[in-house]
C-alpha cells in the first residue's frame, strides 16, 4: 500500500497549521508593502507650513522666490531687519541671505535659523530656488533669451527608450532588471528556505528517533519523498497566497487609481503601433507631446507610470508558469539533496560540511547576478541558465529580457533529466544514513552509501 499521501498530508498540515506560516504568508508582505507605502504617504502629507524671510543684497533675487504649499517666502529687504524679525516672531522659521559680491555672481547664500534646524524641505527648496533663479537671470538678462526660447529650454525632456525592432515593443530595461532580479531572488530564497526545512525535518525525525518506528510502515524512500513533496506543497501554497494577495492589492490600486493604469496601457499600445508603421516619427512626436502634457498638466509621477507601463508589457502568465517550473524542479533537486544531508547528521552544527557544497552553486549564481544583469545574453548568463544546479536562479533572471527558445528548452530538459538522478542518489544516502545514530558521517561514508550494490 502506498503511504506517501499520508506522509505528504502530515508534512503539509503540520506546517500550514502553524501560526508562523500565516505570519510569513500574510504579515510579512503587508509589512514590506508598508515599508514602501509609509514614506510615500508621509511625503504626500502636508507639512507644517513654514515662513522664510529673504534678504537679498544683490538684487538678483528680488521678487523671484516662489511660495509653495509648504513654504511662504517674504521679502525682508535688509539682513538687519530680517534678523530682528526672526528674533521677535516665533512664526518665522528662517532667513535666506544672499550677500553681494563686488564683481562676480553670488557664490554663497546663507540660511539663518533660530534654535531648531530648519527642515530638510526648507533647505532643499531654498537651494533649488536659488539655483534656478540664478540660471534664469543669466539666460534671460545676460544672454537675452526670449521668453519662448527660455521656456522651450527649460521644458526639454528626453528619454531613451529601448524598443525591440521585430515586435515594436518598448524594452523597459529597468523594469526587466527589477522583475528578473526579483524572480531570481525569490526562487533562490524559496529553494533555500524550503530545502532547509526538509533538512531540519529529516534531522528532527532522526534525532527524536521516530524514524525507526516510521520506517517499519513506510519505506525510507517514501518517507523522504513524502516529506519533500509535502513541504514543496507548503511552498506552492505560500506562493499561491502571495499571488492572490498581490492580485488583490493591484486590483485595489487599479480601482482607486484607475487613471494611472489607463494611461499606461494607452501609451504602451501606442508605442507598439508607432514603430510598425511608416508614420513612426509622426507618432513619436505626438507621444512626446503627450508626455509633456502629463508632466505639466496632471503631475503624475513619471517613474511610477513608467513602472506600471513596463509591467503591463510583461507576459505574467508565462512568467508565473516558468517560475513554477523552475521552483518545482529546482526545489525537488535541492530538497532531496538537503534531505540526504539531514539524514547524515544528528544536529545542525554538523550539517555544515554537507550543506555547504549544496549551497555553493546557488550562492555563486546569486553573487554573479550583477554581471548577468549587465549581459543577460552573455556566455556566463547562458551557461549558468543551462546548468541544472544554477539554472533555476539564472534562467529566471534572464526570462524577462527574452531568451531564445532553444535555450529555455535545453535548460528545462537538463533540469528534468537531473532531478531524478539527485533524488536517486539522495535516497541511497538517506536510507543508509537515517538509522545510523551517534556516528559522525564523513564524505567517505557518503561515497560508500552511493557505491553500486551497497545495501542498507
Amino acid at each position: 500500500m502506498n503511504k506517501i499521501p499520508l506522509v505528504i498530508q502530515r508534512e503539509y498540515l503540520t506546517r500550514v497549521k502553524k501560526p508562523s506560516f500565516w505570519v510569513l504568508t500574510i504579515v510579512v508582505p503587508l509589512l514590506l508593502a508598508a515599508v514602501y507605502a509609509i514614506p510615500i504617504i508621509l511625503a504626500s502629507r502636508p507639512l507644517e507650513h513654514a515662513h522664510v524671510l529673504v534678504a537679498d543684497d544683490t538684487g538678483l533675487f528680488q521678487g523671484q522666490f516662489r511660495s509653495g504649499r509648504d513654504i511662504t517666502y517674504h521679502e525682508a529687504g535688509s539682513i538687519d531687519y530680517a534678523r530682528r524679525e526672526l528674533q521677535q516672531h516665533d512664526s518665522l522659521d528662517a532667513i535666506v541671505y544672499i550677500p553681494a559680491r563686488e564683481t562676480t555672481l553670488p557664490r554663497d547664500a546663507y540660511l539663518f535659523y533660530r534654535s531648531d534646524t530648519p527642515s530638510l524641505t526648507i533647505q532643499t527648496d531654498a537651494q533649488n530656488q536659488l539655483q534656478e533663479i540664478l540660471r534664469n537671470r543669466i539666460l534671460l538678462d545676460v544672454h537675452g533669451l526670449s521668453p519662448e526660447d527660455y521656456s522651450l529650454i527649460t521644458s526639454t525632456h528626453i528619454k531613451l527608450r529601448t524598443v525591440d525592432i521585430e515586435t515594436g515593443r518598448d524594452g523597459f530595461l529597468q523594469v526587466k532588471i527589477v522583475v528578473g532580479a526579483l524572480l531570481a531572488l525569490l526562487v533562490f530564497m524559496a529553494v533555500f528556505m524550503f530545502g532547509s526545512q526538509v533538512m531540519r525535518g529529516v534531522m528532527e525525525e532522526k534525532a527524536s528517533r521516530i524514524v525507526e518506528v516510521i520506517v517499519c510502515s513506510v519505506k525510507p524512500f517514501q518517507l523522504m519523498m513524502g516529506k519533500v513533496v509535502g513541504i514543496g506543497l507548503v511552498g506552492l501554497t505560500q506562493f499561491a497566497l502571495w499571488v492572490l494577495l498581490a492580485g488583490a492589492l493591484v486590483t485595489g490600486v487599479q480601482i482607486t487609481h484607475a487613471d494611472l493604469f489607463e494611461q499606461a496601457t494607452a501609451r504602451h499600445s501606442q508605442t507598439e503601433i508607432a514603430t510598425k508603421g511608416a508614420e513612426a516619427t509622426q507618432q513619436y512626436l505626438t507621444e512626446q507631446e503627450r508626455a509633456a502634457q502629463y508632466q505639466a498638466g496632471q503631475g503624475i509621477d513619471n517613474s511610477i507610470q513608467e513602472l506600471i507601463e513596463g509591467l503591463t508589457g510583461i507576459n505574467f502568465a508565462m512568467l508565473i508558469l516558468l517560475f513554477l517550473f523552475y521552483f518545482v524542479f529546482g526545489y525537488l533537486l535541492y530538497a532531496s539533496l538537503f534531505a540526504a544531508a539531514g539524514s547524515l547528521v544528528d544536529n545542525e552544527t554538523d550539517s555544515q560540511q554537507f550543506t555547504l557544497p549544496l549551497t555553493i552553486p546557488l550562492l555563486l549564481t546569486l553573487l554573479l547576478l550583477p554581471s548577468m544583469v549587465s549581459q543577460p545574453s552573455g556566455s556566463l548568463s547562458v551557461w549558468l541558465s543551462i546548468i541544472p544546479f544554477t539554472s533555476p536562479v539564472a534562467m529566471l533572471l534572464r526570462i524577462p529580457f527574452g531568451v531564445p527558445f532553444w535555450q529555455v528548452l535545453l535548460s528545462m530538459l537538463l533540469l528534468l533529466a537531473t532531478f531524478p538522478l539527485c533524488i536517486w542518489a539522495a535516497a541511497k544516502v538517506y536510507r543508509s544514513a537515517i538509522l545510523r545514530y551517534g556516528q559522525k558521517a564523513s564524505w567517505r561514508d557518503v561515497w560508500r552509501f552511493l557505491r553500486p550494490g551497497s545495501k542498507a
Binding site: M1, K3, L6, V7, R10, T14, E204, E205, A207, S208, R209, I210, E212, V213, I214, V215, C216, S217, V218, L435, Y437, R448, K455, A456
Partner: protein, 239 residues
C-alpha cells in the same frame, strides 16, 4: 510463527550477524538476549524489513515473509521517539494510519486504550509537554494499536518507573493471553526470566544459546539467568 533461516549481515568489514537460525513459536514470549552490540537490533531491523540481510530468509506463518506480513508486526524500538511538536492524539492517529488502520477505527481504538491506561486527557497535549515515561506509554499504545500478531519489544522497560513498568508487564501478559507472539529483546535478565518462554542468547553476531527457558535453566543447574548470561558470554566457547 517466525522462522529465521541462516541470516547474515555485515557492514563493511564488520560482521553484525553470522548465520543466525531461530524459530519463534506461535503465542510465545521469545527473549532475544545479548550484550550491547551483539546484533539484536540488526536482527530486529531485518525482521521488520527496515534493512535487508546479505543472505538468508525469513518465514512468517510458514510462507516466505513479505512486506504485507510486516504490517502484522508491532515494533517498539529501543531508540524511540515521537514528533515533539505534534499533539498526542493526532500523532497516534497518524502512526496508526501508517500501519494501515483507517482513521475512524484508529480514533476509536486509541480512545479505548487511552482510557484503560488513564491517559485520555493527554489527547490534545503536545508530546514535548509529556514526561519521558508518559511518552513511553503513548508509544506502547501506538505499537499495539493495530492488533499485531507479532510484537517486537526492544528494551521496553528502559525509561519506565517501577509502577509503569509493572503496568506494561501486565499489558504484555494480557496480549500474550490473547495469542500475540512477542519477541522481547533486553539485557535486563530478571524481566526476561519473568516473562519469557523461550530465549536466544546472541553474542558477537552468533546465537550462542537457544531454547526453552526452563530447559536452559535445568541444564545450568538452576542458575539465575544473569549468571548463565555472564558465564556464556565470557566463556571462550562463545567466541
Amino acid at each position: 510463527m517466525l522462522t529465521i533461516n541462516d541470516i547474515s549481515k555485515s557492514y563493511g568489514s564488520f560482521q553484525a550477524l553470522h548465520h543466525i537460525n531461530l524459530h519463534v513459536g506461535q503465542g510465545k514470549v521469545f527473549g532475544l538476549l545479548g550484550p550491547n552490540g551483539a546484533g539484536k537490533t540488526t536482527l530486529i531491523r531485518i525482521i521488520n524489513h527496515i534493512i535487508a540481510p546479505d543472505s538468508g530468509t525469513l518465514q512468517f506463518d510458514g510462507h516466505p515473509m513479505t512486506l504485507a506480513d510486516v504490517m502484522q508486526i508491532g515494533y517498539l524500538p529501543e531508540e524511540r521517539g515521537l514528533y515533539k511538536k505534534m499533539r498526542v492524539g493526532e500523532q497516534a492517529v497518524y502512526l496508526a494510519r501508517l500501519k494501515g488502520l483507517d482513521k475512524d477505527t484508529a480514533v476509536r481504538q486509541l480512545h479505548q486504550w487511552f482510557d484503560r491506561l488513564e491517559i485520555d486527557s493527554w489527547w490534545n497535549r503536545r508530546v514535548e509537554e509529556l514526561s519521558k515515561g508518559m511518552q513511553q506509554k503513548v508509544q506502547f499504545v501506538v505499537t499495539v494499536l493495530h492488533n499485531p500478531r507479532l510484537l517486537i519489544l526492544d528494551e521496553p522497560f528502559s525509561g519506565f518507573d517501577p509502577v509503569n513498568a509493572d503496568l506494561l508487564k501486565r499489558e504484555i501478559l494480557r496480549l500474550k493471553e490473547q495469542g500475540t507472539t512477542i519477541i522481547f529483546s533486553t539485557h535486563n535478565m530478571s524481566s526476561a526470566e519473568e516473562l519469557c518462554d523461550d530465549i536466544a542468547l546472541i553474542n558477537h553476531a552468533r546465537v550462542v544459546l537457544c531454547g526453552p527457558l526452563s530447559d536452559i535453566k535445568a541444564s545450568h543447574q538452576g542458575l539465575p539467568l544473569d549468571r548463565i548470561f555472564i558465564n556464556t558470554v565470557q566463556s571462550p566457547m562463545s567466541d
